[in-house]
Subunit: 427 residues, 2 copies
């Protein structure tokens, strides 16, 4: 006969007292979300803000401008960092971890810039640092990469990781809005970073790719280690051409195993075919495709920007802290990791208002060549180092968009080599 | 100065010695997968099979027909149960848990039938029972429901959870195959259960829905508690009509909060619009949409059948056991769960070779009425209990397909009531 003692019961969870830094879009979102989830038993004790005299939705006695007030309060066991300034954020996170407090953050710029130090701090002070909200907002991608693909042999992770640029591209493509108007809309809806250049120049997506690289492949990199660009150079003529070919243009982050021990990574605008999962990822949504040896393709889609979707991810981290969850960084810590390389070939489309701006010499091979008064474009094969080392393709008037299948089997093109290009009379 | 001791290192993981029951499609798949993942340090010590004289791909000395040989071997700390027979599987799992061994299974029928006992056994013998492979094969849905949606307020989970029927429906729709030929193909490809009626009559999807209900909403139910059916009754005329209306027909499992404390659940064929995520889930793929208050919509897609996708999920469970992972069943254990109910209204399409087979009296309201020599159909609103209690809609020649937005605001229809139907002269 089983007694009540033998009945399963809820595991004992740690009561969480939160110190929140920042009360912007996401911070306010988290506050609202916590109000609706009393079962979590997590309460915000104090909120540290920069500008005390701003009008706010909740009473002033929730706020302080002193970070020490939160960091030195022993009753606060979790610091939630949701401020914009990546440098200040790093100081806060560092101080909190050193005090043995668990930390939750959504600051991808800060995390990408200090990955190794943050890892060391977690280890040294034996405390948790979680940041699901830093990547694709509501999509639980970090947790899945950490936990689920542990031993399945992951070969690629690619996707749309910036909600703001995806919103802009959707409005340009589907509603024929100008870039400027679309950006303004994204800002009004709270999808864009306070400094929109972080989004539209690709920095934000590149920061997210470094976080994905660490959790998917155990690779610690910075955005400077791979090629990346944003969407500011995409021209009306490019979108017209894409429409004609039944393609869309998306800003895609890619990390792909290219041979037994090497990894290619880049964030660039890319043509996407209608049957590609990413083609159906519109507006502020993000989408990620993983490929692995046995599980094959997985596709995750969810809101990638906005107060509540990001706050929901922050909440899931807070919730995990109740049961002492920590990232294990198993892939980073294992031997025989893949090496990040720029030694691979890309198939690219480059258009330019002036033909002279396209550096033909950098190409291995040119497949198509289009000449028109103010719209010239080329489709060809280029070695990734040429893009990494040279920046003619980042000039005003030039746009580079990846082919729908951008990574080219390098062996083949190494064989053909530049000689073919010369034989074809292109250079 | 930090020393080597202060450097982060891989967490210590438990060495796993596996006892495997079953060497069918998934069992053999798992064997292959484990051969390719030496880093996992999990080895199969012995495989228990039913028929010793079958020709097999690996040496005979791996096998035994004695379950005791595995269960009584103290060096085996994990039992992986991948046999077909749900009753025998339950006995194996029960015995293994009682011996304190961790257990991994993909047997949805067994799990759905014994959920409460299995929960009690895990609690009593303080050991883990994991079954990610039982739901949507490769998609890590159970782990996400357990971990990620813990405190976000989930309102619905719906999706395509049976790869075999989805393969059949895709072949019927896109390749104009007959039901028989499509089923034969699914069986040849290893997508179907050894007893195909489990798939095509909807039992398998219903079993999966009970597992989803437990992990999404903490609700323990059996398939008999909700309405379900398979795809055997779908007629050529139904698919032609769907094509004309630019719809597809999918077998969809749904669990949806319908008011503050109630939950509707059903598995039925459903018309799906082109812009529904589920419309792009083809062949043996599965797809799930979750909706929650703050994260909003999430979509997960991946292979839902086949040796390797299922083995990959089993592998992820084995891998999690190295770090003593257990399901917490937090939603089941929390108070104030939603109550499963059949008190709601559905909008349905019913076609019949003979009009007399459609029981008009059961409808609250009929919106469309089509009469043709051998193709009669009705679109109307029906209360779920009418479908649960009566089975005229399961007769040969009758097919019931849900409207693309099947759940109807019940208050509205209660108000209109049957009187409107009489006024309209239908009954």
């Amino acid at each position: 006969m089983s007694t009540n003692i033998n009945k399963p019961s809820l595991p004992v969870s740690k009561p969480l007292t939160l110190g929140l830094f920042g009360f912007g879009v996401v911070g306010k979102g988290l506050y609202d979300v916590l109000q609706s989830t009393p079962a979590l038993q997590a309460s915000i004790k104090k909120i540290c803000i920069k500008t005390p005299d701003k009008k706010r939705a909740i009473s002033q006695n929730h706020f302080t401008t002193s970070s020490e007030e939160l960091l030195n309060d022993d009753s606060i066991n979790v610091i939630v960092e949701l401020i914009d300034d990546a440098d200040a954020a790093y100081e806060i996170v560092k101080a909190a971890l050193k005090k043995g407090k668990a930390v939750v953050s959504a600051n991808k710029k800060m995390i990408a810039a200090h990955f190794e130090e943050l890892l060391q701090l977690q280890h040294e002070y034996k405390t948790a640092f979680l940041y699901e909200g830093s990547c694709c907002a509501s999509i639980p991608i970090i947790r899945n990469l950490e936990e689920y693909y542990d031993n399945d042999l992951l070969t690629s992770v690619k996707g749309i990781v910036n909600g703001s640029t995806n919103y802009i591209l959707t409005k340009i493509f589907e509603n024929d809005l100008s870039f400027k108007d679309a950006l303004l809309q994204a800002q009004q809806l709270g999808f864009a970073e306070s400094d929109p250049s972080l989004d539209i120049e690709g920095h934000d997506a590149a920061n997210k790719l470094t976080i994905l690289l660490a959790h998917a492949f155990g690779n610690i990199a910075t955005p400077n280690d791979f090629i990346y660009n944003g969407i500011t150079s995409i021209k009306k003529t490019d979108t017209i051409l894409a429409h004609e070919k039944h393609l869309k243009i998306k800003l895609v982050a890619t990390a792909q195993k290219i041979n037994n021990n090497q990894l290619a990574a880049f964030v660039l605008p890319q043509f996407v075919e209608a049957n590609d999962e990413l083609s159906n990822v519109s507006n502020e949504f993000n989408g990620l495709i993983t490929e692995s040896s046995f599980a094959d393709k997985h596709f995750f889609k969810g809101k990638g920007a906005g107060a509540y979707p990001t706050a929901a991810a922050v909440l899931s981290d807070i919730s995990a802290l109740r049961y002492d969850y920590k990232y294990e960084y198993k892939k980073y810590l294992q031997p025989n990791k893949l090496t990040l390389t720029n030694d691979y070939f890309l198939k690219i489309f480059v258009s330019a208002d002036d033909l002279e701006k396209i550096n033909k010499d950098d190409f291995e091979w040119i497949e198509e060549w289009h000449n028109e008064a103010s719209n010239n474009w080329v489709i060809g094969i280029i070695h990734a180092t040429k893009l990494q080392e040279n920046d003619w393709w980042k000039q005003t008037g030039v746009s580079l968009i990846l082919h729908q299948n951008p990574i080219v089997n390098n062996v083949e093109y190494k064989k053909i080599g530049k000689r073919s290009l010369q034989l074809a009379g292109v250079i």
